[in-house]
């Protein structure tokens, strides 16, 4: 894997770009080709790709990355309110603000490692969340969430002579409305840029140093490397990705709420990353897309259409089946998510990418027959980690 040549990276990048940009085409048979969902694929894919730069490369498990996502959203909405409805200043501002916050949080949290680091990041995220709901209400608008209003200043738009409309203005890219398909393509392009940067980081000396830290941090210090700034930069960069993802959420739907910062949201990005494959390039995006896709499907079900699904069963069994299935769908989607979390960690710590690799081995027949059945058992999972 480490010896992948530059050429194969370009092929990977080209393949990824084509796959993302052509999503409206190949997702159509799955009924997932509408802009709102595809935007979410791109946004959460970006979030997970950024998270993976920290967790995947250094092994530091942050449980507070949703805070940067939320901060990014707030910054973007403020840019829409005060400066302009153009999305470029908004995402730039978000990335900078998230980066500054990540610097502050990372500077303190990275003084510790392991579970202490996780708890410190969690504590910071919870503080941000609690404050956003209480004293910071002037900035965050508390429970209602930060929204656009007609009376917003929008200084730059004013100078540029953009007419004030009677209805709320739309987010735009130099006049192009950022909702619907254009919104998706914008997110997709940002995702592709983010993916490109992630490839470069993975293959760079910086990325190799981060892998060294994950592998043996003490040794890095005795090799003459100051691990603190390496970790801090990884933390800041992944925080900026989260801020960018938060900005894109605001771009496609200009409002921001504190619930985006809750620690369950931080847990979700962890799940996306491990489900896809920690430390792999494409994995985090796959994990994010997988979760958002099934969230969409599962959430849509309710007891009525469940009854239809299980219509073929005898009455008594149908009722039971509907009841059991009802646990997992609709608002029970989170239960499915929790189950997915456990199943992934127990049986497939390498995530989807590992699964694909094993499947590949199986197909090409390289795997020995006696090994194949054990592939999913927890005992190999134990050895694996």
């Amino acid at each position: 894997m480490n010896k992948l040549s530059a050429v194969s990276d370009w092929i990977l990048f080209a393949g990824f770009s084509i796959a993302v940009l052509s999503m409206p085409v190949w997702l159509a048979p799955f009924g997932a080709d509408y802009p709102d969902l595809m935007q979410r694929f791109a946004i959460f894919g970006l979030f997970a790709i950024g998270f993976n730069i920290l967790f995947g490369l250094t092994g530091y498990l942050s449980f507070g990355h949703a805070a940067f996502l939320g901060i990014g959203s707030y910054a973007a909405v403020w840019s829409f309110k005060l400066l302009t409805m153009n999305v470029l200043p908004a995402i730039m501002l978000s990335v900078v603000v998230a980066g500054v916050f990540a610097f502050a949080v990372g500077y303190i949290s990275l003084r510790r490692s392991g579970i202490y680091f996780s708890i410190l990041t969690l504590a910071f995220a919870q503080m941000s969340y609690n404050l956003a709901y209480s004293v910071l209400t002037p900035i965050t608008n508390g429970e209602t969430g930060l929204q656009l209003t007609l009376s917003d200043a929008r200084v730059i738009d004013g100078i540029a002579g953009i007419e004030v409309t009677r209805t709320l203005p739309f987010t735009n890219l130099f006049g192009l409305k950022m909702s619907g398909m254009p919104g998706f393509y914008f997110c997709a392009v940002v995702l592709i840029i983010g993916f490109f940067i992630s490839i470069r980081i993975f293959r760079s000396p910086f990325g190799t140093m981060l892998k060294g830290i994950k592998s043996n941090q003490t040794r890095m210090a005795y090799t003459g490397l100051n691990t603190r700034p390496y970790l801090l930069w990884a933390f800041i960069i992944s925080g900026m990705y989260a801020g960018l993802a938060g900005a894109l959420m605001a771009v496609t739907d200009p409002l921001a709420g504190a619930e985006r910062m809750q620690w369950t949201a931080s847990g979700e990005v962890v799940l996306m990353t491990i489900l896809g494959g920690v430390g792999t390039l494409v994995g985090p995006f796959l994990g994010a897309a997988f979760i958002k896709y099934f969230e969409n499907i599962f959430s849509a079900y309710n007891s009525t259409n469940l009854n239809q699904v299980f219509d073929f069963l005898p009455d008594g069994i149908q009722a039971v089946a509907v009841d059991v299935a009802g646990l997992f769908v609709g608002s029970g989607w989170h239960l499915t998510l929790g189950l997915l979390f456990m199943v992934t960690v127990i049986f497939l710590p390498g995530g989807i990418m590992e699964g694909v690799r094993r499947l590949g081995l199986l197909v090409t027949g390289k795997s020995k027959k006696n090994k194949a059945p054990a592939a999913g058992s927890s005992s190999t999972a134990n050895e694996h980690s």
């Binding site: 480490n2 010896k3 040549s5 530059a6 940067i197 470069r200 980081i201 293959r203 760079s204 000396p205 910086f206 990325g207 190799t208 140093m209 892998k211 060294g212 994950k214 592998s215 043996n216 003490t218 040794r219 890095m220 210090a221 005795y222 090799t223 003459g224 490397l225 100051n226 691990t227 700034p229 390496y230 930069w233 960069i237």
Partner: protein
């Protein structure tokens, strides 16, 4: 009189009232191979740890080339050119041998931190060539692409030595470089260290194996009970009755 490179001046270190090191005064001259020997628990490892910044002495100083090492971070000490090779192989098991050796070379070239996230690691052809050369020198040339964790224990130790040598250190600290090695591996390592010696690198070796010590060392310091009991050339040390006593004492225990 040759230049003194490392000067351990009047170092004391105690753990919970137990004197691990007392009155340690020791000079290592440029280009020499200096062995530190002594029975188990004599304080050899503690002394080495004080030298590389892992432990802080209670009093006294460790001066390297005019710089006080006491209280410096491990990476700062390494950047000054003091490199330690550990007893238990400390490597990067998930990375390839090549990467394992390229990292220290980059650390020496670029300093303790450099944010280079856009350039490709594999485009560092000069560094790669250097790393390959060192690996080949140590007989690991055929394995450069494999994962370091998959190596045998002996090869891991050789890899670690390669990581240390790749930095072309001004002072190399070796912690029992042959411990746990089979006889022929030990001999190969001795030959290798002799070769380095010919290159003029200053070395401090902690060693248990007298065979190794007497085939390599220019001067020897004998520790016992946290104190230096004898210092001199191999011949002088061999002749010193206190050394025999210290080692005999150990055997009785």
């Amino acid at each position: 009189m040759e230049n003194t490179v490392l000067h351990v001046a009047d170092v004391h270190k105690s753990f919970a009232g137990l004197h691990a090191l007392s009155d340690i005064d020791l000079s290592v001259r440029e280009g020499e191979t200096h062995a530190i020997i002594g029975p188990n628990g004599a304080g050899k490892s503690t002394l080495l740890n004080v030298c590389i910044g892992r432990l802080r002495p209670d009093s006294g100083h460790v001066i390297f080339d005019g710089e006080n090492l006491t209280g410096k971070q491990p990476h700062e000490i390494n950047q000054l050119g003091v490199v330690r090779v550990f007893q238990t192989p400390e490597i990067f098991p998930e990375l390839s041998l090549l990467e394992n050796v390229m990292i220290p070379i980059l650390a020496k070239r670029d300093g303790a931190f450099k944010l280079r996230w856009f350039k490709r690691f594999s485009s560092e052809k000069g560094v790669q060539a250097q790393a390959e050369e060192v690996l080949t020198d140590l007989g690991l040339g055929t394995l450069i692409g494999s994962e370091a964790g998959s190596l045998s224990r002996g090869d891991k130790r050789r890899l670690e030595l390669a990581m240390g040598l790749a930095q072309k250190p001004r002072l190399l600290l070796l912690d029992e470089p042959t411990a746990g090695m089979a006889r022929h591996d030990t001999n190969a390592t001795i030959e290798l260290l002799k070769k380095i010696k010919a290159g003029g690198m200053t070395k401090v070796i902690i060693e248990h194996d007298m065979h190794v010590v007497f085939s390599l060392a220019d001067r020897i310091t004998v520790l016992a009970g946290g104190r230096i009991i004898c210092q001199g050339t191999p011949e002088e040390v061999k002749a010193d009755p206190r050394v025999k006593e210290a080692y005999l004492g150990e055997e009785q225990v």
